[in-house]
C-alpha cells in the first residue's frame, strides 16, 4: 500500500499556498504510507540559459563549499537553497556540464531531479515529520505530486523513496508493485538507462525515461507501458506543465480525481482531496483502468 496525491492549480492566486495544500493532502495519506514521504514540486522556472537541480546528501554536507567551488571551476553563477537534507542548485549553464562536474568532484551526492522548474524532496519517516523538516508550507508553485510509502518490494531508505525522476522536469510516483521489474531493469540497463536501486518503481521511472529518449510522447510512452509493465499500479507522472495519471487494466489500486474552477487533484483516497478548499462542491470521478489522463497548462 502507498498513498499518492497530485494537485494542479488552475487559479494562480493559489500558487503561494501550493506547499500548504500539498502538505495537508500528504499528511492525510499517512496511514497508507508511514515509511517515507516525498514530493515533486514545480515552481519558479529558470531561464533557458540556466538549469535547476535537486541534490541530496545522506550525511551532513558543506553546501557553501560546493557553491563556491563550482562557481570558480565552471566560471558560472551558482545559487544554492538548502532545505533539509536536500539543496536546490541553480546554475547559468547546461545540466550535462553540472552533472559531469558533480560526478567527478562530489560523487557521493545524488541528483534527485534536473530541469527548469522541478524540485524533488523525499525522506524516510512519517509524512508529518517530512512536512515539518522540509517546511512545505513555505513552498509556492503551480503543481505538485506527493507520495507516502509503505514499502513492499525493497528497503526503506531515502533513495528508495518516491518520487523518482524520469528525465528533465519529469517524475513518477507509484502505488502498487511491479512483478517483472527484475527483467525490465536488466533490459533497461542494456539500453544504457541508469537505474540505481532495486526498487520496482524506479524501473517504471527508468522505463518512461527510455521511451521518451527514444522519441515517444508521454502519452505514447504510457500506452506502451500498459503492454510492458506487469503488475499493479496507479502512477502519477509529473511534467513541467502538468501531470498524468495511469492505472493498470485490473485497477486494484485506488485513485480518485476531482476538479473545481481553482484546481484539479488526484489522490489514492478522497480524504486527501477533502483537505482542499471547495472540495465539497468539486466534480469527482474515478479514473478508468488502462486510460491515460493528462492535465497541462
Amino acid at each position: 500500500m502507498c498513498g499518492i496525491v497530485g494537485i494542479y492549480l488552475k487559479n494562480e492566486a493559489l500558487n503561494p499556498d501550493l506547499g500548504k495544500l500539498l502538505a495537508a493532502m500528504l499528511i492525510e495519506m499517512s496511514d497508507r504510507g508511514p515509511d517515507s514521504a516525498g514530493i515533486a514540486l514545480y515552481r519558479d522556472p529558470v531561464a533557458e540559459s540556466h538549469c535547476k537541480l535537486t541534490l541530496y546528501s545522506a550525511d551532513k554536507f558543506e553546501w557553501g563549499l560546493l557553491q563556491t567551488e563550482m562557481a570558480a571551476q565552471l566560471n558560472v553563477d551558482v545559487k544554492l537553497d538548502v532545505r533539509g537534507s536536500h539543496a536546490i542548485l541553480i546554475a547559468a549553464i547546461d545540466v550535462t556540464s553540472v552533472e559531469a562536474w558533480l560526478k567527478v568532484r562530489y560523487p557521493e551526492l545524488r541528483v534527485m531531479s534536473a530541469g527548469s522548474a522541478i524540485e524533488i524532496y523525499k525522506e524516510k519517516g512519517l509524512p508529518r515529520e517530512f512536512v515539518e523538516q522540509f517546511k512545505l508550507h513555505e513552498l509556492n508553485g503551480t503543481h505538485a505530486l506527493g507520495h507516502t510509502r509503505m514499502a513492499t518490494e525493497s528497503a526503506v531508505t531515502t533513495e528508495h523513496s518516491h518520487p523518482f525522476s524520469t528525465g528533465m522536469d519529469l517524475c513518477l510516483v507509484h502505488n502498487g508493485s511491479l512483478s517483472n521489474h527484475n527483467w525490465l531493469r536488466r533490459r533497461l540497463r542494456d539500453e544504457g538507462v541508469d537505474i540505481q536501486t532495486d526498487n520496482d518503481s524506479e524501473v517504471a521511472a527508468g522505463y518512461l525515461m527510455w521511451r521518451l529518449r527514444e522519441g515517444d510522447s508521454l502519452e505514447e510512452a504510457l500506452q506502451r507501458a500498459l503492454k510492458d509493465l506487469d503488475g499493479f499500479y496507479t502512477f502519477a507522472i509529473g511534467t513541467k506543465d502538468g501531470f498524468a495519471v495511469l492505472r493498470d487494466p485490473i485497477a486494484c489500486k485506488p485513485a480518485v480525481m476531482a476538479e473545481t474552477d481553482d484546481w484539479v487533484a488526484m489522490a489514492s483516497e478522497f480524504r486527501a482531496i477533502a483537505q482542499l478548499p471547495g472540495a465539497e462542491n468539486a466534480a469527482i470521478w474515478e479514473p478508468s483502468p488502462a486510460t491515460v489522463y493528462t492535465w497541462g497548462h
Partner: protein, 223 residues
Amino acid sequence: MAEFDLNSDSVRDLNQFLHDTSTGKSTVTNPGGRHCIACGIDAPLQVSVEGHVGYYCAGMNKTADITITGNAGPGVAENLMSGSVRVRGNASQYAGASGHGGTLIIEGDASARCGISMKGVDIVVAGNVGHMSAFMAQTGRLVVCGDAGDFLGDSIYEAQIYVRGKVGDLGADCIEKEMTAEHVKELAGLLASTGVDAVAGEFRRYGSARKLYNFDIDHADDY
C-alpha cells in the same frame, strides 16, 4: 435524532453510539472520506451520511437503513447482511462485496468488481458497473440499469444478473439466459421496491452456464 459532525466527533464514537442504540435516526455530517463510517450496525436504525465516505462504509450492516448523500469509497456495504444501503452518488470498487442479504442501491455508477462474491444481497445500480462485476457471485441479484464492463459474472455460481445497457466481454462460464415473464415480474418488483426508475422488460438476463463449478469426470486428465 442524534447528530454527529465528524470534523469534531470521531468515527469510533459514532460507531459505538450506533452499536449501543436500538432504534431511531442519526445524521452524520462532514464525513470527509473517512473510513468505516456506520459499520457493523445490528439494529433497525436510520442513518443518513451527508457527504463523501471512504472505505467500507456501512459494512456488515444488519437491519439498518443507511443513506449516503455523496460518493462512496471502496467496499461500500461489504458483507451486507440485511437492511438497506443507498448511495446517492457513485461507488468505488467492490461495492457490496460478499453481501449475504439486504439491498444495496447505487444511484450513480459503481466501478470494478461490484458484487464480487455476493452471497444473497440484491444490488441495484442506476448507472454503469466496471469490469469483473459479480465475479464468483453465488446467490442474489445484480441489476445494472446502464452498461457493464468486461468479464461480467466471471466464474459465477447461481446469482442472477440483469443488465439494461451494453455488456463487455462476458466472464468465464457466464452466459446470457432467457428473460421469461417470471423474470420480468421479479425484476419489476425489485426495481419498484428500490425506487429505481427503469422498465424491467428492457433488461437482459445473465447467469451461470454451470460448466465450471461442477466437476466433469471427462476432464479429470486435465488436472
